[in-house]
Symmetry: C2
Subunit: 253 residues, 2 copies
């Protein structure tokens, strides 16, 4: 009876830990959503909201960390219970980083608001939607401990890398058209990079779910990082109004 | 006697785990060093070396992860021993990310080699030296479990953020001078951002050392991230040869 009680309350504690992760996931999703809205609507108020809420994810991560230490010391769990606890630790750290990237996008959106709108800004909401889908899938997969759904989300990160690589090239061309575009476009590039990194953290979470449920790491290596690293844009010598049409783009890969 | 044997062998196992982390630290330092050399010397061979060695950190991190799970399950450690094990897990993940950033710098250096040298490239080795110092201090602090040295390194990350913020402004101005600078300078900006992120992971490690030794999180919050997020460069209307002299720079903060 006493033992049964302890067992029951341990599963309650694991559920509580898991719920903090789910809550962190909700906050992270909200942060990304608002950061994208701040860019799409050129709304500094929303951006400011994102910056002010960033502390919440930090607090929740600290809560997870201390809860993990407490459970490991008190319960000395094994097998699946142990993996539940270690996974919470890993996922919390990924979600905290997602919040940092959302905050950086929000900061940079405040610069864009100060300047005339530039066309490539629309690529951020476009890329943001894909990131949000992947993040949502991976968090749903965590709630259901659904490895298959986690792997599907994990695969989609490649779409995101491709989208970023194309965006990188487009934006470089756009910058060559007019020096006035350089500052806003550079911030857009960093926003896009932040979104691409959010996608990487989503894949980390998918890998953690795989380990959590099956007890082994996801073996097959997904081609990591973005292809933008090799992008070269050579501007035209003649200053044509439409640099995009003439802008010669070359990909070294 | 039997117990004594178990106790001794457990401390051996903890030492072994700690040694994998120290080895990871050495590899990560080497990766950063070579990535910076690849940029400084415009040497694609060194860059290629960095990319090929990146898998080593991934392998070592997996080794740490499985060792951590094994020790937690078999030894059911508490207090300081438990913190040693959790800290190894956290630091391994930070060092693996450092390797990823070094690899991305190496990739981008391969683009710079294809193009005429640009002045801002020299800022990468400059920033790199500071990153290497911070990383070295923090790894030494881990070897000696020296909280004071860890906190000193942790504080120095602000210098790095400032350096990046200034570099960001300089490079934006340089890009406005000549569209031909845009591609190489954009890659330099991303390289610098990668170095700034390596510094962030070094501060994470410093915070983990604080928790490992003292059993509590480092409370005082260091102003996180870079100030570049607010940088605006407004190019001159007249195309002066020396855009730097005229390039009007404005920081919103």
């Amino acid at each position: 009876m006493g033992k049964e009680h302890i067992v029951r309350s341990f599963s309650d504690e694991l559920r509580k830990l898991s719920n903090i992760i789910v809550r962190m996931g909700g906050v992270a999703e909200e942060q990304v959503e608002q950061a994208i809205q701040a860019v799409a609507r050129r709304d500094a108020k929303i951006a400011d909201q994102v910056l002010r809420s960033d502390v919440r994810l930090d607090q929740l991560e600290r809560e997870v960390d201390s809860e993990v230490i407490r459970l490991l010391a008190l319960r000395q769990p094994m097998a699946r219970d142990l993996r539940e606890i270690i996974s919470a630790l890993k996922i919390a750290s990924d979600l905290e980083r997602v919040g940092d990237y959302a905050a950086n996008i929000a900061k940079r959106s405040m610069v864009l608001v100060q300047m005339p709108p530039v066309r490539p800004a629309i690529t951020i909401p476009r890329m943001g939607r894909l990131v949000q889908e992947i993040l949502k899938d991976v968090l749903d997969a965590y709630v259901d401990r659904d490895v298959d759904r986690a792997i599907l989300a994990w695969r989609r990160d490649e779409e995101l890398d491709d989208l970023f690589t194309n965006l990188f090239r487009e934006v470089l061309i756009y910058m060559t058209e007019d020096p006035g575009n350089i500052t806003p476009c550079t911030h857009i590039l960093f926003m896009a990079k932040n979104l691409e990194r959010v996608g990487d953290h989503a894949t980390n979470i998918a890998e953690t779910i795989h380990f959590l449920v099956l007890g082994e790491p996801l073996q097959s290596q997904r081609p990591k990082g973005d292809g933008s690293s090799y992008t070269v844009v050579i501007p035209d010598t003649d200053d044509a109004a439409d640099g995009r049409a003439h802008g010669e783009t070359q990909l070294i890969q």
